[in-house]
């Protein structure tokens, strides 16, 4: 059965788009048929992270308004079989996302794909509401940092109250994905630990992605990190998360400090 998953966070810049791309690609590499839907109308970026910015002809708003159909609009990924992108508009504003238009598009996508991943815009307004409204599952992307955690708490509250599932007295299955985790700062006591974050937000953990050079490099070249650097620590965190989404029972790997002896001596001197 097809699943609609929203990737959301409240706060901007925590890694929603990176996560949507990396998780989507990982699911597709497991043989699933996946579509990534960009809900950030006016500030689209998923096309850029996916390296498809020059292939956008029609977008989500065209489909909602009936100016194009899905098959004209979906962009097929050239690297991963079964991975598609539904880009959004760069010029329109979020009000173009009508409730019934979005419902119709999501229903149609459910018929074609195993996974519909909705990349939410930052904030708690209309665009974010539309992205989460139809979700069966939610990945809340959070950085181990106070403002991100507070905003995530608001978003969790909204997922529990203003979505279709909530209105039908059901519950969205929620997962926490901690990104930009820095084991060294955690070791020094200057970053909240995974346990701290889980204790505060109390939803199940999907994975912990370390702050990583590989993610920046991947976005520079327009590829999900799970495609361009599949062996990296970040990519394996995302692949593990994808397996967990598929219902596999995988132990979460918490990134640890990996320092050579020389580096260790050097850092000690630097204090």
């Amino acid at each position: 059965m097809s699943k609609v998953l929203v990737v959301t966070s409240g706060k901007g810049g925590v890694g929603k788009t990176t996560t949507t791309a990396a998780l989507g690609a990982a699911l597709a590499m497991m043989g699933q048929k996946v579509v990534l839907v960009d809900f950030d109308v006016g500030l689209r970026n998923l096309d850029l992270i996916m390296g498809a910015e020059r292939r956008v002809v029609f977008d989500l708003i065209h489909v909602i308004q009936g100016d194009a159909n899905l098959s004209q609009t979906l962009i097929k990924d050239k690297r991963v079989e079964g991975l598609f992108l539904l880009p959004t508009s760069q010029t329109r504003d979020k009000d173009a996302l009508t409730q019934e238009g979005v419902s119709r598009v999501i229903d149609e996508l459910r018929g074609k794909f195993d996974w519909v991943l909705c990349d939410s815009p930052a904030g708690i307004e209309h665009g974010a509401q539309m992205a989460m409204y139809h979700a069966d599952k939610a990945v809340i992307v959070v950085n181990p940092e106070v403002s991100s955690i507070r905003d995530s708490d608001r978003i969790i509250g909204m997922l529990n109250s203003t979505t279709q599932k909530a209105k039908e007295n059901g519950e969205i299955e929620k997962f926490l994905l901690i990104t930009r985790y820095d084991p060294e700062r955690v070791g020094r006591g200057d970053m909240l630990t995974t346990d701290d974050v889980l204790d505060i937000l109390s939803i199940p953990l999907l994975g912990v992605v370390p702050e990583s050079q590989d993610i920046l490099v991947s976005s520079n070249v327009g590829a999900p990190v799970t495609v361009s650097k599949p062996k990296s620590v970040a990519a394996s965190a995302y692949s593990e998360a994808a397996r967990r989404l598929m219902g596999e029972d995988v132990q979460v790997t918490i990134p640890t400090e990996r320092r050579g002896l020389l580096e260790w001596l050097f850092k000690r001197k630097a204090i």
């Binding site: 106070v146 955690i149 509250g157 909240l192 505060i200």
Partner: protein, 104 residues
């Protein structure tokens, strides 16, 4: 010596973050739950009420945007919609607070 100093001075900051979040979120969760109750008084409705009451008051008295607060809370006797208006007085150095309580 400097090594010893830094050893003693350095306090981890993450426990501070943890405690601040714990306190803040327990407070925020309570106020959001209280605002979305069985009467459908959602946070947005309260904001709208706040805006409209302010408009009405403004027609008669010069009052500032941030001088009105609306709270909706549950107590044993029933729920209370509390409207706090800070009114400027002639001297302009003090302000008074009028509470209008509407019990349901």
């Amino acid at each position: 010596m400097s090594f010893l100093l830094s050893f003693f001075k350095k306090r981890p900051s993450s426990p501070v973050a943890y405690n601040r979040l714990k306190i803040l979120l327990s407070h925020e969760r309570a106020s959001i739950e209280n605002s979305a109750d069985h009467l459908g008084l959602s946070a947005t409705l309260l904001e709208q009420l706040q805006r409209e009451i302010l408009e009405v008051v403004k027609r008669h008295i010069a009052i500032e945007q941030d001088k009105i607060h609306i709270k909706h809370k549950h107590e044993a006797q029933g729920s209370i919609l509390q409207v706090d208006l800070e009114l400027p007085i002639a001297t302009d150095s003090h302000s008074t607070t009028n509470n209008h309580r509407l019990s349901e």
